[in-house]
């Protein structure tokens, strides 16, 4: 017993030394063809739109059932979001909800007819202090310096802690392989944007892929002027002007999450 333990420790020690050599060996090994060339550089596209904190202002006065539906359709199309019949497995990035569901706790006993039946677009609020970012055990959900709460689908382990943490129901889980429910003909896909795989969570990304090439989010473009997108930290931005001159509400501000999506009512 004693002997074998000792020899085990010896082997373990030698292996440890061996492993600690790898960096040294790597240096010798890598001094090949490209050894003397500089490190590669990575940079942001020059056309990319930049902000301190992106935000969205939704003018509900300009909304109609059709527009809200179009927002969802546009988003689904460019992000390859499948239409799933089974409500339990649905994937939604931006969609319409009745006022009482979009703003639970804010519904008045006597709400004006328009508000009562209006379909409110709801989406990820890209919170200033996002609970989903806080709870993610792998940093698969993280906050970018420009305020966007983004998902790294490569890293998501599908624990769904973020779904429990989100007070806005903005997150969807791929209960099945989304490719099995996307249109058969790939001509109907957006070939420039990936699909997702089963077992990962997803949500609105504020069109990070479009901002990177200088375009505003697709829903803003499709909104017929009802949605305004801009820098909340820039007093001269369009969104700040709208916020200055209109009364706005946010979803569940009392939770302290700091939503970046405002609604003009």
């Amino acid at each position: 017993m004693k002997n074998s333990r000792r020899s085990f420790l010896k082997i373990a020690g030698i292996s440890a030394i061996g492993f600690s050599m790898t960096p040294v060996v790597n240096v010798f090994a890598s001094s090949g063809q490209e050894g003397n060339k500089p490190e590669p550089s990575y940079s942001v596209n020059k056309k990319a739109l930049k902000a301190k904190r992106w935000g969205l202002v939704i003018d509900t006065r300009k909304l109609s059932e059709e527009i809200v539906e179009e927002l969802g359709k546009t988003c689904s199309k460019i992000h390859n979001i499948p239409e799933i019949k089974n409500k339990d497995h649905e994937i939604k990035w931006i969609w319409g909800e009745e006022f009482k569901h979009a703003f639970p706790g804010k519904e008045n006993e006597f709400l004006d007819e328009r508000m009562k039946h209006l379909s409110m677009p709801v989406l990820c609020n890209h919170c200033k202090d996002a609970p989903c970012v806080r709870v993610c055990p792998t940093k698969a959900t993280f906050k970018r310096p420009d305020g966007i709460v983004l998902m790294d689908f490569h890293r998501c382990i599908g624990c769904r802690f973020c779904m429990a943490a989100c007070p806005y129901g903005s997150r969807s889980f791929n209960f099945i392989d989304p490719r099995t429910v996307l249109p058969k003909d790939r001509k109907e896909w957006n070939l420039e944007f990936p699909t997702r795989m089963k077992g990962v969570v997803e949500k609105c990304n504020f069109c990070a892929e479009r901002l990177a090439v200088g375009k505003t989010p697709a829903c803003v473009e499709a909104s017929h002027g009802a949605l305004a997108f801009g820098d909340l930290e820039d007093p001269k931005s369009e969104v700040r002007k709208l916020l200055k001159s209109n009364y706005t509400i946010r979803r569940k501000p009392s939770l302290g999450t700091g939503p970046s999506v405002y609604y003009i009512v």
Partner: protein
């Protein structure tokens, strides 16, 4: 110990099963074609984002860095050596030049029995099932 024979017989059987893949490869001379085939576009371009040698050995590390840079830092432009700028995109840049995933990626991956899950999400624009 009178179990000697049993133990040895057991070891032989175990070893035979364990080393089966090696035997199979030695006696089964059929060696499938596994070298990637360069597309016309790639041949014309002559160069990749890095040297051929580097790409052969390290493309997986390069792609790993790319995905982290693009997704997590929002940096999408790659520059190295020859000063050319590349948009770091598997579906659009890599497959834009290596137009056939089947002939370029799959041949070698299949041979080496590597199953990268890139294509669970990233789309091969040519593929249409």
């Amino acid at each position: 110990m009178n179990d000697k024979l049993k133990v040895i017989a057991g070891l032989i059987v175990f070893f035979a099963i364990f080393s089966y893949p090696f035997w199979n490869n030695i006696f089964n001379k059929e060696n499938p074609e596994h070298k990637p085939v360069l597309s016309a576009e790639a041949e014309k371009a002559k160069e990749c984002v890095r040297s051929k040698d580097y790409m052969t050995k390290e493309h997986m590390q390069l792609l790993d860095i790319w995905r982290d840079k693009v997704v997590r830092s929002g940096e999408r432009v790659y520059k190295y050596g020859n000063g050319k700028e590349y948009n770091m995109s598997l579906s659009n840049t890599c497959l834009g030049c290596h137009t056939s995933k089947a002939e370029f990626c799959d041949r070698c991956h299949d041979y080496a029995s590597v199953k990268p899950y890139c294509w669970d999400c990233h789309i091969d624009p040519k593929e249409n099932k």
